[in-house]
Symmetry: C2
Subunit: 316 residues, 2 copies
């Protein structure tokens, strides 16, 4: 890709400019959102050698995951994604085949979620990097699902495998992409996390109290979800964990439950509902009840206080 | 700055969370905009060794300009900036004094423009980089000012010095910050470009046909403003240019008008109005009439077709 014009032409072949949500598409100084409804917004970085490596991520994996991690934040608001902007840092050594793969898989994920690329910026850089800002709207007359609305006795649940992506990352870092043979589910969970948009909107319809994206591990994110006044009593039998998490943990001599609690990049959902709504909530597919909210700060896991810290992307 | 928490605490000391435009401020999976009005949105990268250098930009300059270039896109829509999100790539070698300077000047510019920091992301990176997405609303019952609404005979105008920031960049690249002594206005125009928000809204009120941010030089941006069917007849006497542009050009043996036309990072405004609106438009302070729209593609400058190409950030 030699010039900015060639890049923009390629982007135009993969991403339509029009969308019911846009009064003005990309190509001007700004895009214009039609307005009317409240809109949720989230920004995430996806950087080479911090969030991904080019030696075990394909172009398609990178394009996919850069957008998926942003969609996950929209899903955690119980919202529908509608649009995104992308600032792209493009090293000169990547060829047209790379960019076609990158944009193709990103545009496929965008189309699946009816999201329009509303604008962005393009620059040369030493390493590949993507900064995406994603936008969503609440379904129908529903509100956005936030954190910190829990009361003691509320039911806590998760959607998605805890610790699985972390096991995948550790495997990929240790042995590269061939680790896929030993732990296919774990490696896939790291390379291609599935944003849980449909489940998020179903949980919104079911009237849950709050919802959150678990991206730094449950041990770290659960206190953020509960706030400083509350704690949780969690029951997490080893046999409920993904087989890859159990096998990975046993292979490295770790406790599978600890691996699941520490997680990192799970892109699972964590939520809470009132006890009287638990039947309605449990009917949402893929949901696992993990425990209850307590009036005492701190997390109890399988009867024992949990101490270890989660995953700090910034320290990484 | 050791941990993500310390960083977020520092950000909280400089940037308030609340704003009339936000139903939910930063700290959750997403922020929530109140909606109601149409909203314009723009994203820009500001990267070390591509858009700025740390050896002649202070921390305060970097924090200021990263936001200023985004505000300039909002101003070019004739809009009021209201909010922004920031993805920050932070090298480990920058100390607390740096970050205090960076956030202090950025937050001052945000406050001057009544903008709220609505969210973002933070990551380690080898080089300092900022990706900002900025949001604006049209004033009162006005629309947004876009490109491509011109007809032959329309009056073309600019606001801001053309070529001045480019002369500043060339000076800084050649001799570093001491170039400020020879060309103070040029160096300041590169380090601290002034977003023209007030002028943009006044031009919107005056009923101009279109407005655009000149960031790649007038030679490159004017055809983008006019579209493929139209051209322009420009009159640009050397004596109307900034004295620093003239002196810089003569010093390097270049034509001052060519330096002004090629520009780059001017963050000036380019606009057009109907001939019958020219008196009303000319009353806006700081405005310079540069010529008229013609029905023939191509740009005539001082009677001669202008050929040289502008500034491609991407090729840089």
């Amino acid at each position: 890709m030699k010039s900015e014009e060639q890049f923009l032409e390629l982007i135009d072949t993969y991403f339509p400019r029009d969308h019911k949500f846009l009064a003005l598409g990309r190509g001007d100084d700004c895009a214009v959102f039609t307005g009317g409804k409240e809109m949720c917004v989230s920004s995430d970085l996806f950087l080479e050698d911090v969030h991904f490596r080019r030696d075990y991520f394909t172009a398609e994996d990178i394009g996919y995951k850069a957008l998926a991690v942003n969609i996950s934040d929209i899903a955690a608001m119980g919202a529908h994604p509608v649009a995104f902007t992308m600032d792209l840092m493009a090293p000169a050594d990547l060829d047209d085949a790379f960019w076609n793969g990158f944009f193709k898989s990103m545009s496929m994920l965008a189309r699946q979620n009816d999201m329009v690329l509303a604008g962005g910026d393009l620059s040369r850089a030493d390493k590949l990097g993507v900064s995406i800002t994603a936008f969503g709207t609440a379904p129908g007359s529903k509100r956005f699902l936030t954190r910190g609305n829990c009361a003691p006795g509320d039911i806590l649940f998760t959607v998605g495998d805890l610790g699985l992506a972390r096991a995948g990352l550790m495997t990929l870092e240790a042995v590269g992409i061939k680790g896929r043979e030993a732990f296919p589910a774990a490696v896939l969970a790291h390379l291609r996390p599935k944003p849980k948009v449909l489940v998020g909107t179903l949980l919104n319809a079911a009237g849950v109290k709050g919802l959150m994206d678990v991206s730094d591990g449950l041990a770290r994110d659960l206190p953020r979800f509960l706030g400083p006044e509350l704690g949780a009593d969690i029951t997490m039998p080893t046999e409920t964990l993904n087989g890859n998490v159990i096998a990975f943990a046993l292979g490295v001599g770790a406790d599978p439950v600890e691996v699941a609690m520490l997680g990192g990049e799970d892109y699972a959902l964590l939520g809470a509902c009132a006890p009287e709504d638990s039947d309605k909530t449990k009917s949402v597919p893929g949901l696992t009840i993990i425990g209850t909210v307590t009036d005492n700060p701190g997390i109890i896991v399988n009867g024992t206080p949990f101490q270890a810290e989660g995953f700090d992307h910034f320290d990484k």
